[in-house]
């Protein structure tokens, strides 16, 4: 891009309302992966790298990894590797890789008004399967969808795509913490989504024009696709990807999912707690950022240790953890699996093994 072109694009971005915080996608450069870096047997409703979800009605399965295969200027990408193919595509079959955006963060488009602004999606993509693919925006309130086709021209080559979606004047997104806007990359579409003849690039609620022309990426277990540098911004101009600092991006992700980082062998303080019963403790834990809403508590083989003069013991890994009360910033937890705790005892509670996380995804 020439310097003059770059200045002009930034000028357009300023006119559209943002020079910073332009990118409404969180973790668009795939650098944050609190749940892990490799996920096997991925099917419908699975979050992998932070904020990115796979949804499908298909026999297809994937291994999804955080990859170091990137275009210049990026440190990570996401790789979706087909491990179970869908070669018998039913009419209702679909596979989408997508991110949902909170209503609070979807207001800047002015959607649902006569002054609504365009949406621009830009991203890097690479696949061994060339052909036509569909990117779609969808507003949950009103159910309006608009799609744009893009072409992967060369196999196994990073390509930069820019797609401009028209203003959406039909329905205003709720200004709250619910899911209001989603960016979806289609990987498979059955005839329920392709049978309408012509792809709808305008806002519609008609299903069979949403993904006309979509290539079946999941036709073979040899197939794979990578994404990085995903950006959604207000206006009709794609500006350069907004690189944010790692800590800043992590905090944005922690609004939806938060796990206490733990190195095996290290003890990590979870909360100050007290005896609830002889086998249970109770305590308050605080989150590093306000979560979207009261989170679920995910416990997979998690193990905890209490440490006081009367009690120095670890509980049974994977014992039940329940919520006594909680909100977006704190949570009162009850943890079972201890033995012989003394009444009235108080102690630090450490998280020492397994997976323990708070989830408030959209």
């Amino acid at each position: 891009m020439s310097k003059a072109r770059g200045i002009a694009d930034l000028g357009n971005a300023y006119s559209d309302g943002a020079l910073s915080n332009r990118n409404l996608i969180i973790n668009g450069d795939m650098k944050i992966s609190q749940r892990g870096t490799s996920f096997t047997g991925v099917t419908h409703g699975t979050y992998t790298l932070d904020r990115w979800e796979l949804n499908e009605d298909s026999a297809a399965e994937f291994t999804i990894t955080q990859s170091s295969e990137t275009p210049d200027g990026f440190g990570s990408s996401i790789k979706l590797d087909v491990t179970t193919a869908d070669t018998s595509v039913g009419s209702a079959d679909y596979v989408v890789f997508e991110q949902r955006i909170e209503g609070y963060n979807a207001q800047s488009f002015g959607s649902g008004t006569s002054n609504a602004k365009p949406h621009t999606v830009s991203f890097w993509v690479r696949s061994n399967v060339t052909g036509t693919y569909i990117c779609e925006l969808k507003y949950d309130t009103g159910g309006y969808e608009a799609s744009q086709a893009y072409t992967i021209d060369a196999a196994d080559t990073w390509e930069y795509k820019v797609l401009v979606f028209p203003p959406q004047t039909l329905s205003a997104p709720a200004n709250d913490n619910s899911a209001e806007l989603r960016v979806s990359f289609w990987l498979l579409a059955g005839s329920n989504y392709t049978g309408g003849g012509t792809l709808s690039t305008q806002w519609t609620t008609t299903d069979n024009v949403r993904a006309v022309g979509q290539t079946n990426l999941v036709a073979s277990t040899s197939n794979e696709i990578y994404f990085t540098g995903v950006q959604l911004e207000v206006g009709d101009t794609a500006t350069p990807f907004e690189h944010r600092l790692y800590g800043n991006e992590l905090q944005r992700c922690q609004r939806y999912y938060y796990t206490i980082y733990q190195t095996v062998g290290d003890d990590t303080g979870l909360m100050f707690a007290g005896t609830k019963t002889s086998t249970q403790i109770i305590g308050v834990t605080h989150f590093p950022v306000a979560m979207r809403d009261s989170p679920s508590v995910v416990n997979s083989s998690a193990q905890f240790r209490v440490d006081s003069q009367d009690s120095l013991q670890s509980n049974t890994a994977g014992s039940t953890v329940t919520i006594e009360a909680g909100g977006p910033t704190t949570c009162i937890l009850k943890i079972a699996g201890f033995t012989g705790l003394s009444s009235g005892d108080n102690f630090p509670c450490k998280y020492i093994a397994g997976t323990f996380a708070f989830e408030s995804e959209l």
Binding site: S296, N299, L362
Partner: protein, 73 residues
């Protein structure tokens, strides 16, 4: 059958092979909404014991409002 779960005073507990997921009874929690979807789709089969009245009422309200949408793209 997608879920076998039970409810405590303050949350829904979904046991897993290696632990559990504790889900707050809050409308904005997407896991709570998934539990309501399971009750709508599977009825009593998805619950270990009788479905608590408050959960059944919330599921009925979700179905009546048209907010339930089974596995749609």
């Amino acid at each position: 059958m997608p879920y076998q779960f039970y409810k405590t005073e303050n949350c829904i507990v979904l046991p897993t092979e290696t632990g559990n997921i504790a889900i707050p009874v809050k409308a904005a929690n997407s896991d709570y909404q998934a539990v309501l979807d399971a009750i709508i789709a599977e009825g009593a089969d998805c619950f270990d014991g009788d479905i608590p009245e408050d959960l059944q009422a919330a599921a009925d309200a979700k179905l009546a409002s048209g907010a339930y949408n089974a596995n749609r793209a």
